[in-house]
Symmetry: C2
Subunit: 93 residues, 2 copies
DNA sequence: TTGACAGGCAAGTGTCTACTTGCGTAACGT
DNA sequence: ACGTTACGCAAGTAGACACTTGCCTGTCAA
């Protein structure tokens, strides 16, 4: 299991999560073309593939293979506990 | 304004936020000594000072000077919107 | 005023990381 | 069978980042 925070540290990976939030279950090539058009991101296929690996290792993305297609799904599970770690506590004297 | 996600990417900085959650308004030397004993962190003063700068640039820590002391306070404000960015949306087909 | 204390500034170093480059493999259409 | 499509693997590179090192500034107590 990778580091969720480090996975979120990269802006491109956050845009990928935005894209999967907008349309869940995309393939690698779909994500590539949609990022290029909608977000003006010139990232290569290999770059985005490596980003997806990082997101998957962190548990933020799950995949399902079907023939030669690999569909990517966002998983918000690891997101919830990471913020409440610092909430519900202090006030400023 | 710095990147909140990048500020959270480093484990030492997260422990610093833990420490400020436990006891708000500490000085640099307080944080150093308490991290050394409670968390077995051998980070130097300069290292922690630089981490505090990153956290302050990201808006996660605010400071107040008083004579030769500088007190550090956690600010959870930037934490709340960053998660809901990806919530309230998709389900898995 | 002198020394100790709390912190700041800035250059240098090693490691990590995002990205590229190039090739390889499996699935599908015709 | 053959070319195309969708994706994987792995080495190399440039830049970012965490940390160190060394020195400096300001504050307080004696």
């Amino acid at each position: 299991m990778g580091d969720v925070f480090k996975a979120l540290a990269d802006p491109t990976r956050r845009i990928i999560l935005d894209e999967l939030t907008d349309r869940n279950g995309q393939t690698l090539f779909e994500i590539c073309s949609r990022l290029a058009t909608k977000h003006q991101l010139g990232s290569s296929r290999q770059a985005i593939s490596q980003h997806l690996d990082v997101l998957e290792t962190a548990g933020l993305v799950e995949t399902r293979r079907e023939g030669r297609y690999k569909f990517h799904y966002i998983n918000t599970g690891p997101l919830e506990p990471i913020i409440e770690r610092w909430l519900n506590r202090p006030e400023r004297p």
